[in-house]
Symmetry: C2
Subunit: 393 residues, 2 copies
Amino acid sequence: MKKYSLIAARLIGQPMFKLLAKIEQMEKEGREIYHFEIGDTDLKAHRHIVEATKLALDNDHTHYVNSMGIRELREVVCEHTEQTLGFRPSIEQVLIMPANGIIDCVMRCVVNPGEEVIYPDPGFSTYIAVTNYTGIKKVGVPLKEDNAFHIEVDEIAKRITDKTRLIVINSPQNPTGAVLKKQKLEEIAMLAKEKNLYLLSDEIYSRVVYDCVHYSPSVVDQCKERTIILNGFAKSYSMPGWRLGYVIGPEELIEKMGLLFQTMYSCTPPFVQYGGISALQGNKDVIDERIQQYKTMRDLMVKKLNEIPGVSCLMPDGAYYVFPNIKGTGMSSAEFADFILERAGVALLPGTCFGEYGEGYIRICFTRRLEIIEEACEMMKKVLKQEASCRRY
Amino acid sequence: MKKYSLIAARLIGQPMFKLLAKIEQMEKEGREIYHFEIGDTDLKAHRHIVEATKLALDNDHTHYVNSMGIRELREVVCEHTEQTLGFRPSIEQVLIMPANGIIDCVMRCVVNPGEEVIYPDPGFSTYIAVTNYTGIKKVGVPLKEDNAFHIEVDEIAKRITDKTRLIVINSPQNPTGAVLKKQKLEEIAMLAKEKNLYLLSDEIYSRVVYDCVHYSPSVVDQCKERTIILNGFAKSYSMPGWRLGYVIGPEELIEKMGLLFQTMYSCTPPFVQYGGISALQGNKDVIDERIQQYKTMRDLMVKKLNEIPGVSCLMPDGAYYVFPNIKGTGMSSAEFADFILERAGVALLPGTCFGEYGEGYIRICFTRRLEIIEEACEMMKKVLKQEASCRRY
């Protein structure tokens, strides 16, 4: 008899966390590491959110609550959606749960093993991890640098088969930072409608845009038919450790997802949910100010990367990653990431963590203090120059 | 094409949460309800745990962390296990995650759809919910009142087939309050060893025992071969809303479970984990004192229930539920629960929420203030007497 289930044999997790463990070990051995691998920021959590969470703890919001989320937060999410996307979902269309888990819940509730999901490649690693362990077939749509990593509607269309159940899109996109235009999103929504498919719109970076506007394909059906919005607080409100997100979708599907979440986790901590209320109701200027800080970091990062021989980097419109081309160094993505970690002490992710079309690229999360960005890029430049001159002889 | 996956069609969730939503609605309509349905307490969270969680928030423990759990908490769990069970697991044997999710993770990592899990019936509803949605075959072992709801080793043994992969036991037990003796637990561990099966020991109520001692079957293999301990903070430390638990098992299995947890939820909130450290390291007297309070509540509840015609109730040795026999009322469990909710405003759970062998019983969580227990039992007695006299004419 086998020791583990088929599921266990197929688990790959998120490669980022594997690297995290390796780096933890290096640091324990005394190495100083520049951290650009994780989608998180150096900056502290916003004070009003921390205080709201603490107040909820003091007010004994520490008991079991409705597994769909507390009513107050669900209502604030409806309100916020009306303000930002122009339609107000019903409260039954809203489920509060950790954002990463939404990918797992959506896929498992609408796709059977052997059926197909279309998703962007390179794309967020959890899309791959979930399809992998569940036995769902993943069908990647290549994102190309010469198209600024924008997904093409006809590239999606030609991959639809009679086994396709779900299209996943992500704008602003991880890892490329591409932000899709309104018209393209509407075309994708119309394609999903025409083909009678679910459309998961991962909008986790919706607040993180620079000099452009975030649009959602959900305006076409207001999440009543097939569009499912994934959103959360980790990226837009610097709340990664709260593990708080929300999903808006068709009522019946949301009920199913709620049952799955309940079976696994009962409910989301209530005091954590009060933090979320504070985030959505808080002063928007505080959030905007932070996005401006990110923009300064982005600009410096792109400038410095483009000074490194063999590296070229596009300017991303959203999210907080750059996805530079490193093909000119002669190394593969994995070789580059290993080399830079060992030699420059800079932790970043190979593009292949995000799919096969990530080969030749690396992902850098740039929401770090400016001096750190300067130093790390200088280190990278130095070791790459050394390496290049060694090779020459 | 079907609208949902096979998984979605099989989801049943935890019946308790369905009732919770119904009660929420009744209360919105102005009804006053006595709450005895949820496995939670009226009492506030312990102050030192709340303060530790708040301090962690202030100290910016709000970022992503190792998905296996923060090292500090994992080490404290090792320490605590050594103190309470007499063996010290390696840190790689410990994974921090919500306790309810452990059931899902263990079952999915070791059992394939169509294979079998043996579990106590009546038993915690998540055992049933997970087997149901995953397509794992559930094989219930009846717990009998005339045996004080203790599980019998030969009753487990005779249900083992070549498809059995996992035995689940739970002591102190939900919903019956039965606490298994050391010898019986060792016999079960030896049976699992002999038949080469995994053994999930759900010890979530390990601290909640009255005048007796909690034993664990894990002492046989120290969780190195097949025994998996599920534990958490909700029940023993009055921390339901933290959604914090831990699992101790064979290193390789724990790694698999960590990958599954990571794929779904990335990590457990770090500030929540600091609350857990404070719970395990805090003054044990504070916890013991609360268990003494529970005992007083238990004694009153059992006494009052036994004064109600048609109801008889054993004295539980652990957990915080009573599981009275209501067969003398002539109602089914579901009828009784509905009747008592409607007529007496008392919320409790029909025994059938916990499996087919729960028919004829109800579950009452007794960790409520004494005057609430008095009032609710008086109300129940009154409406049941009225009903009985109506029937007579």
